[in-house]
């Protein structure tokens, strides 16, 4: 009800960090950083998608001639790297940033400036890696860049230099964000928000951050070795010096497998928010959903070598890794069935986010099943490095992660911008994506089982792969159209979508209790949470009475919201206001918010200078200059208090 107080706007000159471009460059507001992540990541998704589409055009028929072999190799390497590190991970990060503080009832993350730093470093790393295109030297070692192909001897060009350094930078971003969110979630939950009352998306974030901070060290080390080998002549992957090429593979997949759960768990979290809302039922088996997240993450550290069944590890290791891999199907299956349980008996509203969420449930299952097929080593010997694997991981990545993230975008767009996305365009987007995605990736199962290796630039005629590839390419064309519709929808709705109000969907969690978009301080009063579904408790306490952690009858959230009954949304008049001027400022409320600052950006620039020095003829003075800028910015940042003195 904060908005009913039509307090006069505090007059006076605005600080330069409070408006225009500076307000973005110097922001420490998790919501703005979340949006920066969102739009940057979507842009990279388009880039990765264009790369994919060129790949598909090249593979349309036998002996395609659209691109050269060298370019093709760069395309799939950059497609994989872009989609994983610059599209899906940061898209998830967009939600971590935007949503987690809102969901736990906090005003910001634990370390707002570090948060800004994470974003800038991500931006720098992703630009750095793509700059390579301008030098005709995009990375070309495949997204897991096996040794010794990645070493100077076999990849003498700049290509892999860009990859090595770019990946190092991106890793830094994720690690910094990881510590930040772990701290935020442990320490900034609103009063009453026990761990077992946290929204499932926050749980997914929490678990994902552990996966990040515990698995990124592996790739950091693997890539550091490679960097030393390439730049300083060490011997880590130098076969002649006695090195073992499998070292890279083990270190990479020790990271790589947890990474795939880093890519999927946030999507699982989003879907776990969307399904209950549009089923008008609590999530089925909340505790088990939480435990299964933890179990998946934990088991995820014990299966890495299932990517290496063909390298000759011996029967004992093959058996162990085969079985641990299969085990992961159990907690994941529980999630699928509990989602079905959530929908069972519900009152399902097929809004666009709901459609995408259901899309995840159906498509991820297909990818999961082919994953289990991989987990049987003798069978996998026929599948590995064939298009069957390509089919598997696009079903889990596109059918899982992307579907979940799309669901999240449609669901939270109103909270982010205050406006709803168009349902008509949204449904077009969904159905074209659903059809296009199956047309693109389902035939890849057949191509793979029919012997088509992956990462091939051309294939010969008469191999029995033509039809599969025709269909795949046509499917990809449909995906291009679908994605364009999405982009149009996004742009148009941002400008002129219908006003959303606080709670357009009748959702159960507290982020829907505040205006859309939320004021800088999120909650005028930090809410006190007494259940998993505070919003529903408030509106219909008798319904959730049986849900654990929901003592009936209490007013759970101290901010008033519009009521909503199943299938019918009433948007309260008091939130029908443009956010920019609707709420009293933090200052008026006496809320102390972090001061905007440009220092995290400066620190990032220092890092960039250093890395450019390294790649540019190993220019020592430039490397040192960058280091000095970085340290100076860091000191300046750490020695100024986060907030204005009060």
């Amino acid at each position: 009800m904060a908005t009913t107080v039509a307090a006069p706007r505090a007059a006076g000159p605005k600080h330069k960090y409070e408006s225009g471009i500076w307000s973005w460059l110097a922001t420490t507001d998790h919501k703005r950083i979340g949006q920066l992540y969102l739009y940057t990541a979507l842009a990279w998704f388009l880039v990765g998608g264009i790369e994919a589409f060129i790949i598909r055009l090249q593979l349309y028929g036998p002996n395609g001639r659209i691109v050269s072999a060298e370019t093709y190799n760069q395309l799939f390497t950059m497609h994989g790297t872009t989609m994983i590190f610059m599209a899906i991970m940061p898209l998830s990060a967009a939600f971590f940033n935007f949503l987690v503080p809102l969901q736990i009832g906090a005003r910001d993350v634990a370390f707002p400036r570090l948060n800004a730093f994470s974003y800038w470093v991500f931006l720098a790393g992703s630009i750095f890696m793509n700059v390579s295109w301008l030098f005709h030297a995009a990375p070309d070692g495949g997204w897991f860049a096996y040794a010794p192909l990645n070493t100077r001897v076999y990849s003498p060009g700049l290509n892999m230099d860009f990859w090595v350094i770019g990946l190092q930078i991106l890793g830094l971003s994720s690690l910094a964000a990881g510590f930040n969110f772990i701290t935020t979630i442990i320490n900034m939950r609103a009063p009453g928000m026990h761990f077992m009352r946290m929204p499932v998306f926050t749980w997914a974030t929490f678990v994902t951050q552990f996966l990040i901070v515990l698995s990124f060290p592996f790739i950091t080390v693997a890539v550091t070795f490679l960097l030393f080998d390439r730049f300083f002549g060490t011997n880590f992957y130098e076969i002649a010096a006695g090195a073992d090429p499998l070292l890279w593979q083990h270190l990479f997949w020790l990271f790589g497998h947890p990474e795939v759960y880093i890519l999927i768990l946030p999507a699982f979290g989003l879907v776990s928010e969307v399904l209950p809302t549009f089923s008008r039922k609590p999530l089925f088996g909340y505790p088990v959903m939480v435990y299964s997240l933890i179990l998946i993450a934990f088991l995820g550290f014990g299966v890495w070598a299932h990517h290496m069944f063909a390298v000759g590890m011996g029967p004992i290791a093959d058996s162990i890794f085969g079985i641990t891999t299969m085990l992961i199907a159990i907690p994941t299956g529980v999630k699928i069935f509990n989602w079905l349980g959530t929908m069972w008996g519900g009152s399902l509203r097929f809004t666009t986010p709901m459609l995408f969420a259901i899309g995840l449930v159906s498509l991820f299952t297909i990818g999961g099943i082919s994953g289990v097929m991989h987990s049987s080593p003798p069978s996998d010997l026929q599948q590995t490095d064939s298009y069957f694997v390509v089919a598997h991981f696009h079903y889990v990545l596109f059918g899982g992660s992307m579907m979940g993230l799309f669901a999240g975008i449609y669901y939270y767009f109103p909270k982010i911008t205050g406006r709803l996305m168009s349902e008509t365009l949204g449904k077009w987007h969904f159905w074209l994506t659903f059809i296009g995605m199956n047309l693109t990736f389902f035939p890849m199962h057949f191509a793979g089982l029919d012997g088509m290796p992956r990462r091939i630039w051309q294939y010969d005629a008469n191999q029995g792969w033509d039809v599969d590839n025709h269909i795949s390419t046509i499917g990809a064309a449909i995906l291009v159209v679908a994605t364009l519709i999405f982009v149009i929808n996004l742009v148009r709705s941002r400008r002129s979508g219908a006003r959303a109000g606080n709670d357009p969907w009748g959702a159960p969690t507290i982020e829907w209790s505040i205006p859309s978009p939320p004021p800088a301080y999120n909650y005028a009063t930090i809410p006190t949470v007494r259940s998993r579904y505070p919003m529903w408790d408030m509106k219909a306490p008798e319904l959730t009475a049986s849900v654990p952690h929901s003592p009936a009858g209490e007013k759970e959230v101290t901010v008033k919201v519009g009521g909503a009954t199943a299938g019918h949304i009433e948007t309260p008049a008091d939130t029908q206001l443009n956010a920019e001027n609707a709420h009293p400022s933090a200052h008026e409320l006496g809320i102390v918010m972090p001061t905007p600052t440009i220092k995290p950006l400066l620190a990032t620039l220092g890092l960039c200078v250093s890395f450019f020095g390294l790649i540019w003829h190993r220019h020592v003075p430039i490397i040192i200059l960058g280091g000095v800028i970085f340290v100076a910015a860091l000191y300046a940042w750490l020695l100024t208090p986060l907030e204005p003195e009060h």
Binding site: I182, I186, R189, P191, G192, H194, F195, L214, D244, L246, L247, H250, L254, F298, F301, G302, A305, M313, G314, P315, I316, A317, T525, T528, R530, T558
Partner: protein, 117 residues
């Protein structure tokens, strides 16, 4: 409402960790800890220079001694023994996974070989 609210805060303090000042050890403890650490280090080096070096006990002895040192520093100097439970989780969980991975890697590269057939 305000009163109501603040009442929640106290009543609702989380079970997993209380905002409590933890009793930290002091000089009395620290000096003993330092002494023990020094002695262990001396023993380690001593073991290295004796005939034990060529026996099968050498490696296990060293591993145990350094594990003891490790544990002592973590428990007392890093006061994990006295501190909130959550820190124990944040440290020991990852430590165990990391050690397991380290050991499995040594297996996989045949350093602690178990040979099939």
């Amino acid at each position: 409402m305000t009163a109501d609210h603040s009442a929640h805060v106290t009543r609702d303090a989380h079970g997993d960790a209380h905002p409590v000042e933890h009793a930290h050890p002091d000089w009395g403890t620290y000096k003993w800890v330092a002494l023990v650490l020094t002695i262990i280090t001396i023993v380690e080096v001593y073991v290295y220079y004796t005939g034990l070096k060529d026996t099968r006990l050498f490696v296990p002895i060293l591993l145990i001694l350094s594990a003891a040192k490790f544990a002592i520093v973590v428990m007392f100097y890093m006061h994990l023994k006295y501190d909130a439970k959550i820190f124990r989780g944040l440290f020991i969980g990852p430590l165990i996974v990391a050690m397991t991975v380290l050991i499995s890697l040594l297996f996989l590269f045949g350093h602690i070989a178990i040979h099939a057939s």
